[in-house]
Chain length 394, copies 2
């Protein structure tokens, strides 16, 4: 179990402070669990105040004892109730704030209104984009953890070769693979940013399950086991000569990789084989294009152009309700920045980590590939491991 | 896979409309996934407008096709972007709103601010308490689904007898029990209300793991596998003569039960045995007290009094950082209303469903019991099944 090193936390906090200063924000109040883990190195519940300059203060609701053990920050205090936040900051010398940075994309409105009453003189500023910008570029430490998550997924995809059998349900396969995950230390949780974004380990899609529209901002979703959570593995039985797609996120020490592979018992129809090859070609082209300085939306457009040229354009990234992206940032959350999507004008930077997922969706199933990659000088370097071709099983 | 019947949705909507009328709120905009599932019967992403009087309108972001199949509501339309919400409501005759009910406890601030711009004439009103009030009392239909979840947990607790072995890790046990859940149709997700509330299936706590303080508003938490998500099963190996506690939530068709049982390979120390018996006695007393009309906080106080009288008072519901409750409402979310806690003056009503969990926490482990119960005329009726005594294994 890793603890985030003090130097790593200092680097992250300093990067945010630089952006706070540029935007003229006096300080940031970090309340979201993913952001708190990133900046404070703890999963305990609490709030972190990061002033534009000076020492951060971690105020812990529960468990204070464990937060002290987990976080490498120096100033950690218990906070019985969020309504004492102003007094606590006052006590530590953070007074007369004129602006206060908040994670308005996820902070509940009731808490936002409470903070306005606690800090009447402070103008609230949405700093979610600043936080997501800092988190976009990964450190050597983060890449090391992500490589461990890639190793976990390699184990899981290797085991899938043994577990995929004709006649078992998607759910049986899911149960077995999730046990592999758990034994290897997967926490079971895959974080997504946003209050109506929910995900489990990911999606297992056999044949026609792949063609079912998704409730998520994802090309595929699957049937799931209930309309309450209508995604992921369902009761459908795995059959011969259909794609069995595993799109699962491996998590180690809070960091994840997202990956997709296609298996088949028997032989896939020629159309799907050709579409899979087209997806691999698009992946290779994007890996070359995605050099530091390249714009996300330009890369997306090139990929769409290649998909159209392949003759399978209308099946690219969804069928009846396609999604407008081909890759997404990833790290502590499944939907980090940048996104390879129209309107995303961010230039790529070295050490951004992106899950690239060119896929073709047909009513009879899904083909394509997904790998988690890091931006290097010469384009994307793949971090996830395992054969990218259709994996034929007997 | 159940679909919520049309009559059930109509009953729920009508109950909320009555409260909206009482509070003088023109209409409610439901955006939270759990509330949306409750009032619209779908897990697809979208927004539901419930006017104080008249027909609700379900506006679906994704997937519109699936939402039409899942929801028994009559008026279902696609909505490309939340910024067209005002135009859509206008089109359906919902104009000139002077008040707008919102789920301010979970709605992100950015969305709240957007809605204020879209509906400048409408005063936002927090209706989360109205929604939680409606959801508190369960219907015959809901109780039927919850009984199915109880059956699922019975299977899981029965299997645990076979799987608990000296020397295996908590995580190995978790992997096996979670596979049992998955094969029986558990979606893998356990919903909790609140943006910093995260949970997986629950907690497996062997011996000293039970004494570790929790990041959650729960008596126990466990170590977990990472500081990113510091709860639940960890790498600790199960030993002889210590309590092995399984506190897991079984979910079927979106409804759950919460339950805790204590196993032991060998024999527990006498102190823990006596504390377990005290917990069972407190449970029985509370079951008698919890009749319709009884106040939640009075029941809590009685339980604390009984715990003190048992001689184990300082170990009741946590040790170093105890929690101030002995039971919580449950249904679609793990933390529903009512809560058997100080300050909770709600009188109990027939058909409320409550997870009652008197527990004693010692540095060397946890004992006690948790059952999901329904309020009947004569007190609590236990819905969850399985032997409540310490289950001794060889």
């Amino acid at each position: 179990m890793r603890l985030t090193p003090a130097g790593e936390l200092a680097r992250r906090i300093s990067a945010l402070q630089k952006l706070l200063q540029q935007k003229g924000v006096d300080g940031a109040l970090i309340m979201d669990p993913a952001d708190l883990f990133y900046f404070a190195g703890t999963g305990q519940r609490g709030h972190l105040f990061i002033p534009a300059g000076g020492r951060p203060l971690l105020m812990v609701k529960k468990s204070f004892i464990r937060a002290r053990d987990e976080s490498a920050l120096e100033d950690i205090v218990p906070l019985a109730n969020v309504k004492y936040l102003d007094k606590m900051l006052n006590e530590y010398g953070y007074q007369n704030l004129t602006t206060l940075g908040l994670e308005l994309d996820v902070l509940p409105a009731a808490l936002y209104l409470l903070l306005q009453r606690l800090f009447p003189g402070a103008q609230p500023v949405d700093i979610s984009s600043l936080i997501r910008t800092v988190r976009m570029v990964k450190s050597t430490y983060e890449l090391e953890v992500i490589r461990d998550a890639a190793q976990l997924n390699y184990i899981m995809y290797s085991k899938a070769r043994e577990y995929i059998k004709e006649g078992i349900s998607e759910l049986e396969l899911a149960g077995q693979l999730e046990m592999v995950y758990r034994l290897a230390g997967h926490s079971g949780t895959v974080r997504m940013r946003g209050f109506d974004q929910e995900v489990y380990y990911g999606h297992i899609l056999s044949g026609s399950s792949g063609g079912i529209p998704s409730c998520m901002e994802s090309a595929t979703g699957g049937m799931g086991v209930s309309v309450s959570f209508p995604q992921g593995a369902g009761f459908k039985k795995i059959a011969r000569n259909e794609p069995v797609v595993i799109d699962y996120a491996g998590v180690i020490d809070g960091y994840m990789v997202d990956q997709t592979r296609v298996y088949c018992i028997g032989q896939l129809p020629d159309k799907l084989v050709r579409a899979h090859e087209a997806a691999l070609r698009i992946q290779e082209a994007v890996k070359q294009l995605a050099v530091p300085g390249a714009l996300c939306e330009d890369i997306y457009r090139q990929a769409v152009h290649l998909a159209a040229a392949s003759g399978f354009g209308e099946h690219f990234m969804g069928y009846s309700e396609p999604v407008p992206f081909i890759g997404h940032g990833i790290g502590i959350e499944l939907n980090e920045w940048p996104v390879l999507a129209p309107g995303f004008k961010t230039p790529l930077e070295k050490d951004m980590v992106i899950a690239l997922e060119p896929k073709f969706i047909f009513p009879e199933g899904v083909v394509g590939v997904e790998n988690t990659c890091v931006v290097g000088e010469k384009g994307l370097e793949t971090l996830t491991l395992f054969d990218e071709n259709i994996i034929y099983l007997k």
